[in-house]
Symmetry: C2
Subunit: 349 residues, 2 copies
């Protein structure tokens, strides 16, 4: 896995996973160009790239305007495609916004990429949300696609673009389907980024953790492990498959996840009734079968959950002012979003 | 299956399958409101509804502007959702147009529908193209989704909207995945509507039939049989499944399909090399496994191919001036499309 002097394009590189990947790539000697629109609500944080600010090139652009940076695309050797909106809850309130960001912009990006740099390796950050409510556990790549929210539909369409264009010989794509990723640089200030983001935010603000349900299994993956999956997929000479699940080392009940975080932060857990707009798109228990990625690309989840939680809290404590403002509470509903607020039409009359 | 006095909304009702369905619904006593944008290139033909012109209400609107006819939606009992662009070839030349028509407009339509008429039965006209190159024959509903063109990606996303909103209890949807449908009212004037449309056009213009390849199996379904599938899906009290394949009574090599049509029209077959932009998105042999639809909803394909061909040619001979203009040849590339022609970027440099 040699990234020395490799010309890498990284979309969404100001975001949580993207910035961790950018830092690692720079450490490995790659020449990294980050493309990020800094669209409100999508998790970009300029501070994320502080450790490599002078070693990375930043293009502030939406990937849908790829014409603007087509020279850079024509010249690149690998693309890591992480731009997007990750919130399932936001997608239900603003489905057209989610379609524009997660599907239409991807289409325009790939249209330019396949013309400027046909056949290039591209690793797309997909989501396990496409599988919806699991029919069996752990969920492997054969599981039917049956999303329960617009984000899942739109991210699936974008993943399908990548695979379709690969079938046509115009791209050389790998789709990673990520489970709950956590770690340093999570977008804690942005609401509705998933349960782990909420838990860490509360823990860092010294608020007791609220748990809905609690029996549901999740298998959180530490961001360094997720980054390793991207690096392997971006560099593999031989790809037996095009889609790989990326999950954590263990399936843990949500109650236990909350407990580990609460205890590490010296806090308590409070059980709450499930809010209806979340219950609607909750998928119950989810555990990933990542064996294909282990077998075919030699990956494995290295960081146990308790270790990852400790590292995450330590990291954020030193950086807290860049990630949370106790004076400005984070409330779901995208207060930072400039667009018109549409009626939340989740529940039939 | 009682449609007497039922208030039905039919999107794409000026098109090929939609108009045949509208006529049948009126015969069954339904109160039919057709919504159609008459967008150039999408197959609308006002003459299609000539037999029921005084018995049907026509709303000339894009389904993406569903706010304009939300009263009608609020009041309806069944929706047949057939609006869309069907051309795989066009979707590769104009992918953003295809996304706008087949996904974004559907999203806006369903957003209004789920709010105005939550829980309504809706039957969506999907395509077997979502399966891509078959891994096995005949193709059943368990087959992986792996489209080879943008039309397949976008129609799949729209189908997924329907199923996702049904999972959330906001719609009561059935997705029909149709194979090659043929019969009276095909959009013969519009280019790139599939091989059967091309064969019938040439046959009616007394031009010899051109065959690319010829060994590929197809299972054409006569439009009356397809219409029957819509009627059954729209009226079924009990739906064991939400997705049904709809295929013809037999798998036939393309060469044989051409021969049957050519002989019925007194013409010959000419073998031609496969044009590269079609070879790219050709799926090889395809035969549908429709047994789920037969078993669960009591459907069966009634019309043998030779019979359907005879009926189709007879019908068109009497109506030819409404469907073909020998003085204006039909050439692929959407001459009727008002939008900017974009570079056909199918083949990597």
């Amino acid at each position: 896995m040699n990234y020395q002097q490799k010309r890498v394009i990284l979309t969404g590189g100001l975001g949580f996973i993207g910035s961790n990947l950018a830092i690692r790539l720079v450490q490995l000697g790659a020449r990294v160009t980050v493309v990020d629109s800094s669209r409100p609500g999508c998790g970009a944080n300029p501070h994320n790239l502080a450790p490599i600010a002078s070693n990375v090139r930043l293009i502030q652009a939406d990937i849908g305007e790829a014409q603007e940076f087509r020279q850079e695309l024509a010249d690149c050797q690998v693309v890591f495609n992480l731009a997007g909106e990750v919130s399932h809850v936001h997608s239900m309130a603003f489905p057209e916004r989610d379609l524009a960001i997660n599907t239409a912009a991807q289409l325009r990006f790939l249209e330019v990429l396949r013309r400027e740099r046909p056949g290039v390796r591209i690793v797309y950050a997909g989501t396990r949300q496409v599988y919806g409510i699991p029919r069996y556990l752990p969920v492997d790549e054969q599981h039917p696609v049956q999303p329960v929210d617009f984000n899942g539909v739109h991210k699936h369409a974008a993943a399908t673009y990548h695979l379709m264009l690969t079938r046509l010989g115009q791209l050389d794509a790998v789709v990673l389907l990520l489970t709950n990723v956590y770690g340093p640089r999570m977008a804690l200030r942005i609401p509705c980024q998933g349960v782990l983001s909420t838990f860490f935010r509360r823990a860092l603000l010294k608020q007791d953790l609220e748990v809905y349900g609690g029996e549901q299994l999740r298998d959180p993956v530490y961001v360094d492990d997720a980054v390793e999956a991207f690096l392997l997929a971006g560099a593999a000479d031989h790809l037996p498959s095009r889609t790989y699940n990326v999950g954590g080392p263990e399936g843990i009940p949500l109650r236990e996840i909350a407990k580990v975080i609460a205890e590490a932060a010296g806090l308590r857990i409070v059980k709450r009734p499930f809010p209806s707009e979340r219950k609607q798109i909750d998928i119950g228990s989810y555990v990933t079968d990542s064996r294909r990625l282990c077998r075919e690309l030699g990956w494995s989840a290295q960081v146990p959950f308790a270790t990852g939680v400790r590292r995450t809290l330590e990291w954020f404590r030193a950086e807290i002012r860049h990630y949370l403002d106790p004076a400005r509470p984070t409330v779901c509903g995208m207060p930072e979003h400039a667009g018109k607020r549409r009626r939340l039409a989740l529940i039939p009359a």
